[in-house]
Amino acid sequence: MKDNKYQQLVKKHTPKEDKLKHALIAFLVGGSLGLIANILVTIFNSFGISSKDSAIIVLLIYIFLACLFTSLGFFDNLVAICLCGLIIPITGFAHSICSSMLDYKKDGLVTGIGSNSFKLAGSVILYGILSAFILVIIKVILYG
């Protein structure tokens, strides 16, 4: 059988994913995370903390909660339901590092946790820095 023909056959029998439903859930969850963050920033503002500082505090709260829930063992169930709603915000980044660490905690501090914790997050950091670098060069060229 030709490769293409077989791939079509497989495709025919493969169940379809509910992409729209997933996108909607991710939109709602991600959106509400943003909304809660904004409310928190406003509250912190009312205590006299500057907007910049309160944004950082909110991020820290999110990172802390994601790591805590991952370690307590139920954040993965939430991620499986909310998908990118929890993966794209900073919670996903914290969760990916924390879950890798949990996987390798028995393999030693250096050979296990040290060398494996950025297994998933490594690419985010690398390409994040790389794209920031390129964007800065563009900014300097355009605006001096």
Binding site: Q7, H13, T14, E17, F75, L83, H95, S100, D103, L120
Partner: protein
């Protein structure tokens, strides 16, 4: 031709241990059901090791009076360097052959043992395998706690361990076997295991029937390993299109082990323990089938090769069983 008949090899006894994930079909005859992924151990690898040790210990205890001594153990698992099986065998003073063909490991072990026994090299032996859902998640996919999304087409690795004693007497005869070819599936999707393994299964079934000169209706049941819901349909279609074989009395063990109405079971169960679990605890207990062809399918996928954009090869081995009584 890689099909051969055995004269005097029997499946004498078997033992199965399974982890109860909430959507398992609980067959009454499971020897040991565990409810803890860690099985009282500190790491998942140790848990799988303990599972295999429990199974091997118990099956030896059950049969040692009868057999006096176990001549050989053949087996493997899904871990790198089949570490679990190798470590397990350090506690037993029995010669050991370790082998790997992913989810077809158990049937491959049985074929190796059967040929040793049939040629009178040894009198008896034990085939053993184990799998741990979380260990294979960690090895082949994402970190466990990451909770990466599982598409509907994926199959879920079953956690458990099984062993079978092969000897020169028993009630289930191992009649013949076919060793499969490695088939390139032309697919690159690691979630589409059914589609990856179906061409290998089809080739092995067709080769077996041709070599043995049998019609597909000769068998009361053809049971494939872990193709899952979608793979099952794909296999039926390829067999009909390419080999003009129409499967009727056919089922897939992956679709029988889990409660398929539960959304969490996705496309079905997978792993080397699925086929033996279903065979020992459902098919043989029904006492309905006399001639059974078991076709274990293994996806020989390596994360490194897949990351380098290679297609995934697969293999399938078949054994024909005759229930004498």
């Amino acid at each position: 031709m890689a099909s051969f008949k055995f004269k005097n090899v029997f499946l004498k006894d078997y033992y199965s241990l399974i982890y109860d994930n909430k959507f398992l079909n609980k067959f009454k005859s499971f020897d040991y059901v565990i409810n803890d992924y860690y099985f009282g151990c500190k790491s998942l690898e140790k848990a799988e090791l303990k599972m295999q040790k429990t199974v091997l210990n118990n099956i030896i205890k059950k049969n040692i009076v009868d057999l006096k001594k176990i001549d050989l153990v053949v087996g493997g698992d899904l871990s790198n360097q089949i570490a679990i099986s190798n470590y397990n065998m350090t506690s037993f003073k029995i010669p050991f052959l370790g082998e790997y063909s992913a989810c077809a490991t158990f049937v491959e072990s049985m074929i190796i043992l059967a040929s040793f026994i049939d040629n009178d090299f040894i009198d008896n032996g034990i085939a053993i395998t184990s799998a741990h859902n979380l260990n294979s998640e960690k090895q082949f996919r994402f970190p466990i706690e990451y909770g990466a999304y599982k598409p509907k087409r994926t199959t879920i690795t079953a956690t458990g361990s099984t062993a079978a004693v092969l000897a020169k007497n028993g009630l289930i005869k191992i009649e013949s076997a076919t060793i499969g070819n490695v088939v390139d599936s032309t697919l690159k999707d690691v979630f589409e295991m059914g589609g990856v393994m179906a061409p290998a299964a089809a080739l092995t079934i067709a080769n077996h029937l041709k070599d043995m000169n049998r019609d597909v209706n000769y068998y009361d049941l053809i049971l494939t390993g872990d193709l899952g819901n979608s793979g099952k349909e794909i296999l039926k279609e390829i067999l009909e299109l390419n080999y003009h074989i129409k499967l009727k009395k056919y089922n897939d063990a992956g679709c029988l082990l889990y409660n398929m109405e539960d959304e969490k079971s996705k496309s079905g169960a997978s792993g080397p323990v699925v086929l033996p679990l279903v065979l020992f605890n459902k098919v043989l207990k029904l006492k309905k089938y006399k001639k059974i062809l078991i076709v274990a399918t293994g996806s020989l996928h390596s994360p490194v090769m897949v990351n380098q954009k290679n297609t995934i090869p697969a293999i399938a081995h078949a054994i024909s069983l005759e229930v004498l009584k």
